[in-house]
C-alpha cells in the first residue's frame, strides 16, 4: 500500500500531529511519501519523498490552491491512500480532494481492520467499519488514535507548482477571546455540560467546585448557552487541562471534549446515561441526576 501523508503547516511549522500520520503509516506497514505546503527552512523530518510547495506563495489556508497542489502530488505519486489529520485544515481540504478524484473518503479513522477503516458514530457510543469501493481512498485520522512517530532524516524534494486563483480569500487570523481564566494549572476542575440543563443549575456546579477548592470548567454547549465564559471551555476549541481531579457534570464525552481533559489524573463523571462515552475515561462513574447528586456531594464535603 502506498500512502501520501498530507502534513499541515501551522504558523510556518509542520503541525505536531504530523507524527501521527507517520504512526498510522507504520501501523499499516505502508510505503510513505509526504505532501507539505510549508516553509522550506522547516520541513518535516523524514528521509523520503516530499511533494512540496512554498507556503509564502500558496498561503496557509487557501483550499482551492491547496487542492490543486495535492492533485498534482496524487497524479505524480499515484498513492492508494491520501491521509490527513482530522483538523480544521484537514477536514476542510480532504473532501475537496476526494470530490476531484471521485474517491471514497473515510472521516476520523480510529483503527484499521483488513480493507476497512474503523470510525466512531453516535457521539462515540457506537463504531462501524467503512470499506472504500474506489481504488484511491481519502482518509482523515482522529487525533490521538494512532501513535506519534518521528522518522527523522532529510527529505528528497519534488516541487509542486501553484496555480493561483481561488474562490475563497483568507483575510486574517483572530486569536481566541481572552477573557482570562487559566485552567491549565488548576488542581481540581468541575465542569458543567449541557446536562446541567439551565443557568440556575450551574450554581450547583459552582458550589461543588468551591467545596473542592477548584475551578469551574465547561463543555462547548454550556459556553454557547452563555452559562459560562469561553475561557472555561475544555476541549479542542478550548483549553487542554491536566488536573489531579476532573469532575464532568452532565457531559457526554464527545471526542472534542475528551481531547481537552483526558490528561486528568482522576476523572469523576456524573451522568444519567450509563452508556455515555465519558465512561471511556472515567475512573469513577456516578449514574445519577446531577440535580440531586451534586448538592449531596457538596454537603458531604462541607461536613
Amino acid at each position: 500500500m502506498k500512502t501520501l501523508l498530507v502534513a499541515e503547516c501551522r504558523q510556518g511549522r509542520p503541525a505536531d500531529a504530523t507524527a501521527e500520520l507517520f504512526g498510522f503509516a507504520r501501523t499499516l506497514g505502508a510505503e510513505v511519501s509526504v505532501a507539505y505546503i510549508g516553509n522550506p527552512d522547516d520541513l518535516p523530518r523524514f528521509d523520503g519523498l516530499v511533494y512540496f510547495a512554498d507556503v509564502r506563495d500558496s498561503g496557509e489556508y487557501d483550499p482551492d490552491v491547496h487542492k490543486r497542489l495535492l492533485l498534482q502530488a496524487v497524479e505524480a505519486g499515484r498513492p492508494d491512500a491520501v491521509v490527513f489529520m482530522h483538523s480544521s485544515w484537514g477536514w476542510d481540504l480532504a473532501p475537496r480532494v476526494a470530490a476531484a478524484l471521485k474517491a471514497a473518503q473515510v472521516t476520523e479513522v480510529t483503527g484499521v481492520v483488513g480493507e476497512g477503516y474503523i470510525v466512531d458514530s453516535c457521539n462515540g457510543k457506537m463504531r462501524r467499519t467503512v470499506r472504500p469501493l474506489t481504488t484511491t481512498v481519502v482518509l482523515t485520522l482522529q487525533p490521538g488514535a494512532f501513535p506519534a512517530l518521528q522518522p527523522g532524516g532529510a527529505p528528497e524534494i519534488h516541487l509542486l507548482r501553484a496555480e493561483h486563483g481561488s474562490n475563497v480569500e483568507f483575510i486574517r487570523y483572530e486569536p481566541p477571546p481572552a477573557d482570562g481564566v487559566d485552567l491549565t494549572r488548576a488542581e481540581v476542575i468541575v465542569s458543567a455540560g449541557r446536562g446541567v440543563g439551565s443557568r440556575e443549575h450551574v450554581e450547583l456546579v459552582k458550589a461543588l467546585a468551591e467545596a473542592l477548592g477548584g475551578e469551574v470548567g465547561a463543555s462547548r454547549p454550556a459556553v454557547d448557552a452563555g452559562w459560562l465564559e469561553h475561557s472555561r471551555q475544555v476541549g479542542t476549541t478550548g483549553q487542554t487541562v491536566s488536573p489531579a481531579l476532573y469532575v464532568a457534570c452532565g457531559i457526554s464525552g464527545a471526542v472534542q471534549h475528551l481531547a481537552g481533559m483526558k490528561g486528568a489524573a482522576f476523572v469523576l463523571a456524573v451522568n444519567t446515561d450509563r452508556d455515555a462515552p465519558i465512561g471511556e475515561v472515567a475512573d469513577l462513574f456516578v449514574v445519577a441526576d446531577l440535580r440531586q447528586f451534586l448538592p449531596a456531594l457538596t454537603a458531604k464535603l462541607k461536613r
Partner: protein
Amino acid sequence: MKILVCVKQVPDLESRFVPNAAGTWFEEAGLAFRMNDYDEFAVEEAVRIKEQLGGAPEVTVLSIGPGRVVETVRKAMAMGCDHGVHVMDQDAADRDPWQIAAMIAGFAGPRRFDLIFTGMQSIDRGSGQVGLLTAERLGIACVTTVVGFSLEGRRATAERELEGGARGVVGFGLPALVTCQLGLNTPRYPTLPGIMKSKKREIECLSPDEAGLEAPLTMVSGFAPQVRMGSGTVLEGDAVELAAQVVALLNEKTAVLRRGGAQ
C-alpha cells in the same frame, strides 16, 4: 436571492442503540428523532439573512430520509423557511456522503441557489463531507466550520473556527455553500403561529432518482457498541449514599481532599 438549507434528522444520542441485522446502522424502533444540532444553526442563519434583507430572499429547506423527516422539514418551516422539499428515501441511513451530496447537488444545480447552508457535520455520522462534496460538485465556493457570517451585496465574510478557539476570517463571493458550527447563533424556537402555518404548507416530494442518486463509494459493516477501554468503577443508588461513597473513594484514590481546599 435564493437560499437553500439542508437538514438531517438524527436520533437522540442518549438512547441505547441496537444494531440492525445487516450490521450497517441501528434499529429505529423506539428511538426519538430530531433536527441535527448543527443544522439548526444553518436554518437560523438562513432565516436571519432573510430578515436582514427585508424578507426578500426565498428560503428552501431540504431533507433526505424516510417519512419521519417531514417533521423536521416542518420544524424548519415553522422557524421561517418558505418552501419544504423532501427526498423520500427509505434507505437514506445506508447512503454514504457521496450519495447524499449527489442528491442535494442534483436538486440544487438547476435551481441556482445563491447561498446554501448545511451543518458542519451530523451528530450521528459526523462525516463532515456532505457540504463540501455538494459545493465541489456544484463548482461553488465552500467555507466550513463557520461561527460568524455576514453578507454585503453578493460578498460574504465568514469566520472559521480553528483549534484552541482561534478564528480564520475569509471572504468570498456568491454563490457559495457555508457549513455551520456550534456557536454561530442561537436557534429560535418555532412560534405557535409559525407551527400552525407550516402544517398547512405543501412539501415538494422527490424520489432519490429524481434528485440524482448515484452508486455508493463505500460499504459499511460491523456497526456495534464501542469497545470500552474504561475500567472505572460505576456507582448507582441514592444520592446521599453515593456522596459518601464518592468522598471515600476520592480520599482513597486522590490527594485532592487533603490539600485543605475541601474543609
